[in-house]
């Protein structure tokens, strides 16, 4: 399942990050790598972006980026 499809408050593990190089670098820099636990916790009223809990902090990602992140769910 891709990250944008994971329902709120369900913790999953990242399987693979398939974004463009530049964005991929950013996402890796934020500590989202293979095996990282990630949990969607908040959704914007307009449906996008979604805030994720990663390594004890909140990071919000847009759908166009989260749909390129594969999870083990």
């Amino acid at each position: 399942m891709t990250l944008n499809e994971v329902e709120l408050n369900r913790e999953v593990k990242v399987k693979c990050v398939n974004c463009d190089e530049n964005i991929k670098r950013r996402i890796l820099d934020l500590g989202i790598i293979e095996g990282t636990k990630i949990k969607p916790v908040l959704k914007s009223p307009l449906g996008d972006p979604t805030a994720y809990e990663v390594r004890g902090t909140l990071i919000s990602l847009r759908k166009e980026d989260s749909k390129n992140i594969l999870t083990n769910a």
Binding site: T36, P45, L46, D48
Partner: protein
């Protein structure tokens, strides 16, 4: 030190500096752009990297946010590769405590192999501790013993292969960059390599080195590692190392504040209430600004009117010609004072209130709620497509739009006066 501070990434896109005095010694502090990483090629990362690497600082203070230490440690490990004299400063310890995060600074110091000091920037005493550590490092009282990240075996092998040749090229004083330069040669980032050659006045165009590099690429290919993957593997090693350090050095406990924060987040960004609450907040601020500004405006304009009488009398007393009085009083004085009395009060009310909203964390939530709209508004150019809670580009846009709004209000007010 007085420096303007702003709150979004890339705010400081150039270095600003100031002098600070500690124990009768003057220190020149250079504030370099805040980043999460120095591996990419965005403008602020380049400036930061080049300054640390080639600006010959006596010491580099890396300031980390205690509330998200793990993410920030990546930066420490990257900086360790390009400079030997580091002081790590873990800031916002008070905030972390409120969130139930306890950081064991001694363990952190041991794991990183560099001096670590905890600070609460609002408390001066803690800042003196930081300066004391910096002084100790500069005077050689603390021996730093950097524990750099070990990469996966294959990358370490590649570094070994290049070490010998690169060592010959590097000047004696820059030998600490050896490992980093090998890494950069392996991942082949042209822009960084160019910058290294230019700043250190060396050249990598060397037959022996080229031959070694060929060997390295062959080895990587044999192990099925693509060139674009190398850097990602390096980042992954750093992230995993940071994770390991945090397991030892950081303790989390459930705190009331964090639960409360999350509840507030839920309301501020909820589907039904998120946007109405936001509009209400902005409405209240604008209302207070418009209504509240009337009183000081009137007061100011009365004051200026009262002073005008004296000025006219003064000018008459020195027998100034009528045309001069008219230019000075009706022209210059009236216009300037009118602008001040109309413009100053709303600004003086609006901006502090806005800052308050930002400090309360309302602005990042607004950015989160409205991201979709802002994206549409600026879809014609490439936008940064990631953002982090608490600081964001979109905040910048919100700020600009609201500033424009307030200017319109001020203008319409002044027209109606």
């Amino acid at each position: 030190m007085n420096q303007h501070t702003g709150n979004w990434p890339g705010k400081t896109v150039e270095n600003s500096s100031g002098v600070c005095k500690y124990k009768d010694k003057n220190y020149l502090l250079v504030d370099i752009p805040g980043t999460y990483s120095i591996m990419s090629n965005s403008e602020e990362e380049e400036i930061a990297r080049d300054y640390i690497c080639f600006g010959n600082p006596d010491a580099t203070v890396v300031i980390l946010d205690a509330t998200c230490l793990e993410r920030n440690l990546n930066l420490v490990y990257q900086i360790m590769e390009i400079t030997p004299n580091i002081v790590v400063c873990v800031n916002l310890l008070d905030e972390a405590k409120k969130k139930g995060i306890h950081i064991n600074l001694d363990v952190l110091e041991k794991e990183l192999g560099v001096p670590v000091v905890g600070t609460i920037a609002r408390k001066k005493k803690t800042l003196n501790r930081l300066m004391q550590k910096v002084e100790d490092v500069l005077e050689g009282k603390i021996n730093t013993n950097l524990k750099r990240v070990k990469y996966i075996p294959i990358i370490e092998d590649c570094i070994q292969m290049l070490t010998c040749e690169v060592e010959k090229i590097l000047p004696q004083s820059k030998q600490y960059l050896l490992r980093w330069i090998c890494l950069k040669l392996i991942d082949g980032e042209e822009k960084i390599l160019e910058s290294i050659q230019k700043n250190l006045n060396i050249s990598f165009n060397n037959e022996k080195l080229d031959a070694k590099l060929e060997e390295v690429y062959e080895l990587l290919e044999k192990n099925d590692i693509k060139k674009e993957d190398i850097k990602n593997k390096m980042v992954a090693s750093i992230v995993i190392r940071a994770e390991g350090v945090c397991i030892d050095a950081v303790e989390f406990s459930q705190s009331k504040k964090q639960n409360r924060d999350r509840k507030i987040d839920k309301i501020l960004t909820s589907k039904i209430w998120g946007i109405p609450i936001m509009i209400a907040f902005l409405g209240i601020i604008l209302w207070i600004t418009i209504v509240g500004a009337n009183y000081p405006s009137m007061l100011l304009s009365d004051l200026f009117g009262w002073a005008k009488g004296f000025l006219v009398e003064g000018l008459n007393a020195i027998y100034a010609p009528t045309w001069l009085t008219s230019i000075l009083i009706d022209g210059v004085y009236s216009t300037v004072t009118w602008i001040i009395s109309v413009m100053l009060p709303p600004m003086a009310i609006f901006f502090p209130m806005f800052t308050l909203l930002e400090d309360l964390g309302v602005l990042p939530r607004i950015a989160f709620n409205l991201d979709k709209c802002f994206r549409k508004a600026c879809s014609s150019r490439e936008t940064s497509t990631y953002h982090v809670h608490g600081s964001d580009n979109v905040v910048n846009y919100t700020f600009k739009i609201i500033s424009i709004l307030s200017l319109i209000i001020i203008l319409s007010k002044s027209l109606s006066m």
